[in-house]
């Protein structure tokens, strides 16, 4: 088909093993995040907790939500969405963190 609209997606069937692997990973990471929260890492507690959460989210997005095998456009949408969320966070934080520094 010469239509410029081809998605290029194949009907990829993810093996059950991959799903079970992600499941185990998610459970392990949950345990890890609870345990790490008991340790005092100063300012890194938040960072580690968020890194673990991001890792879990990536696993869910890539494998459970099939993004690893999705077409370019879907992946662009996913990346774009999260990037936009970051924009919202960063620009609002820019005001709040600076206000704290300026003392009001």
């Amino acid at each position: 088909m010469s239509a410029p609209n081809g998605s290029g997606e194949t009907h990829h069937i993810v093996p059950v093993k991959a799903y079970l692997g992600v499941f185990a990973f998610l459970m392990a990471m949950t345990v890890l995040t609870v345990v790490v929260s008991w340790v005092d890492l100063g300012i890194f507690n938040t960072l580690v907790a968020m890194l673990i959460a991001v890792a879990k989210a990536v696993a869910v997005v890539m494998i459970f939500m099939h993004v690893r095998w999705a077409n370019k456009l879907a992946r662009l949408f996913v990346a774009g969405g999260f990037f936009w969320l970051l924009l919202l966070f960063v620009l609002v934080m820019m005001d709040y963190f600076q206000r704290a520094k300026l003392g009001y």
Binding site: A3, N5, V92, M94, Y96, Q98, R99
Partner: protein
């Protein structure tokens, strides 16, 4: 079957005549009919918003607040803003012209999700009914911006109901944007690459990105206000340590990109009008296309310019100020490119062209005054004055509404199969232009002199300018009423339109009759040429000789 008489012997039913029942309209999934349904709804909202504007200008004829009580005046300008922004401007071009034209322009039989398209109209109606109910019950007085803590704690008016109406209508916007994005990505005709698309489509694509990414944030912001007001679950209440400015951040994260939702489709219309009326391809087509997306993207990064004096950190203010200057660049590029297109074009002096000329001038003034406001130093003086009011009316009314009217006239033959009465249409365009400038230019001066906005009383020395403004509003109102009448009249008595009355390029003109059949095309068109592939210059030299 159809009972319409026609000069064409083998008249096939078109999308209007295929079925006359009410049910076929209310349950339609045809993007063209949905566009018409939206056209009727938003026109009624525009009428309401216009009446409210008339009441404002009536009050401001005299320096004293002698027509309305202060509380009621607050309700009037609030409802004017809410109705005009959420129920007229945001849906106007996308839901009417966008819905109607995008599938036609890309050679598709419908949008990607026709039933969701219909759903979006019903959602719009529900939102509208909720908001109108709030008005009927007594209105809301917080300003369309719903700032906390007044809206969340202290106001005694129908905040929740109005907010609910706006919340619901936001989903209409989201569904429209979602539909457009998928359609434009996946349903273009063979040969129709991105850089062969009409600029109208590019503009709507960029608009749809904003609808998807920004609207949910205002939705959750409204939810937060509702939780605080309804359930006393506080987020912005200073007594709990909350920050009212957080509301402003979240609110303007949507509401600034929202203004680009309101203007980008108009810019898309503008490109189509100028190309067709001057019979030239738009100068710098690719750059104009990319500029649409650039405006959408950069437009997300500038919202803090509404909060320069709201105790936002001045470092943040600096960043937002700089980025606001940046966002003017792609808009300016478009204006230059439109102007360059007009150079040595055949420039027909027809109604759509008059609106297009008006747009260039008025949008430029509006855009430039936006730059004044983006400079923190100037904004300190002009924030919350009539300078701001004039600025945004220049872009919204002088820009977006002129474009809407221009587009409505340009595509009226395609949508209805009728021509309107050109001399009256031209007169109306001129009246709109004159009335508009008379209404809003004095407001720049008033703002510069210090008259605050949202006040119903003012010092006596401002009266002359206010009277001029109200006089202008009267002329503007007449200018708007004329199209309402002659366009409706044309439906019954207008001359039947040919498929391509303007001899314009574009699939909607070249491959579909006026009006089109329900499924648009008998065979999917194939595209082999760039957009606006008008005949070259040399053919016109004969005329100049």
């Amino acid at each position: 079957m159809s009972t319409v008489s026609s000069t064409i012997p083998e008249a096939k039913p078109n999308y209007l005549t295929s079925d006359f029942s009410i049910k076929s309209w209310l349950l339609t999934t045809d993007h063209k009919r949905i566009g018409i349904l939206y056209l009727i709804s938003i026109s009624l909202m525009f009428l309401l918003g216009g009446i409210l504007a008339g009441l404002i200008r009536l009050e401001l004829l005299t320096p004293n607040g002698d027509v309305f009580q202060p509380e009621n005046y607050n309700k009037i300008f609030t409802m004017h803003g809410v109705v005009m922004i959420f129920f007229f401007l945001i849906p106007s071009i996308p839901a009417t012209l966008g819905n109607f034209l995008i599938p036609l322009m890309i050679g598709a039989r419908d949008l990607a999700f026709p039933r969701i398209n219909l759903l979006s109209w019903y959602i719009y109606l529900v939102g509208g009914i909720l908001t109108l109910s709030a008005m009927a019950l007594g209105g809301v007085d917080t300003g369309w911006t719903f700032y906390t803590p007044y809206s969340s704690t202290y106001s005694n008016t129908y905040v929740m109901l109005t907010a609910l109406g706006v919340f619901v209508s936001g989903f209409s916007s989201i569904l429209t944007g979602l539909n457009f994005i998928v359609t434009i990505h996946r349903m273009r005709a063979p040969g129709l690459t991105w850089f062969r698309l009409p600029l109208f489509v590019w503009a709507h694509y960029a608009t749809s990105l904003i609808m998807i990414l920004a609207t949910p944030v205002v939705a959750v912001t409204i939810l937060l206000v509702a939780l605080e007001r309804g359930l006393r679950i506080g987020f912005f209440d200073p007594a709990l340590g909350g920050d009212p400015v957080l509301f402003q951040h979240l609110f303007w994260f949507y509401s600034h990109p929202a203004v680009y939702i309101m203007i980008l489709p108009g810019m898309g219309v503008q490109s189509e009008l100028i190309a067709a009326m001057s019979r030239k391809k738009i100068f710098g087509y690719e750059v104009v296309a990319i500029s649409s997306v650039a405006i959408a993207v950069i437009g997300f990064l500038v919202w803090g310019h509404h909060m320069f004096v709201a105790s936002q950190s001045w470092y943040a203010g600096l960043v937002f100020s700089f980025l606001s200057f940046l966002v003017a660049v792609p808009s300016a590029i478009k204006v230059f490119n439109w102007t360059a297109t007009l150079f040595r074009g055949s420039n027909a002096f027809l109604t759509p062209m008059l609106y297009a000329y008006g747009f260039i001038g008025l949008f430029t003034v509006g855009g430039l005054t936006g730059l004044f406001l983006s400079s923190m130093g100037l904004d300190v003086h002009m924030h919350d004055t009539y300078f701001v009011v004039a600025h945004f009316h220049y872009v919204m009314v002088g820009g977006a509404i002129m474009a809407f009217l221009g587009g409505l006239h340009f595509w009226w033959p395609k949508m209805t199969g009728r021509m309107y009465y050109e001399p009256l249409a031209r007169l109306s365009a001129v009246l709109v232009f004159i009335g508009f400038n008379l209404t809003f230019f004095p407001q720049f001066i008033l703002g510069y002199l210090g008259m605050p906005r949202r006040y119903h009383a003012y010092p006596e020395e401002f009266q002359v300018l206010n009277v001029l403004s109200t006089a202008g509003a009267t002329v503007l109102a007449i200018g708007y009423l004329f199209p309402a009448t002659y366009l409706i009249y044309s439906l019954f008595k207008g001359e039947k339109a040919p498929a391509n009355p303007w001899n314009a390029k574009g699939l909607e003109w070249e491959q579909a009759p006026s009006p089109p059949p329900t499924f648009n095309f008998d065979h999917t068109p194939e595209v082999h040429e760039p957009a606006y592939a008008y005949a070259p210059e040399k053919e016109k030299e004969v005329v100049h000789a």
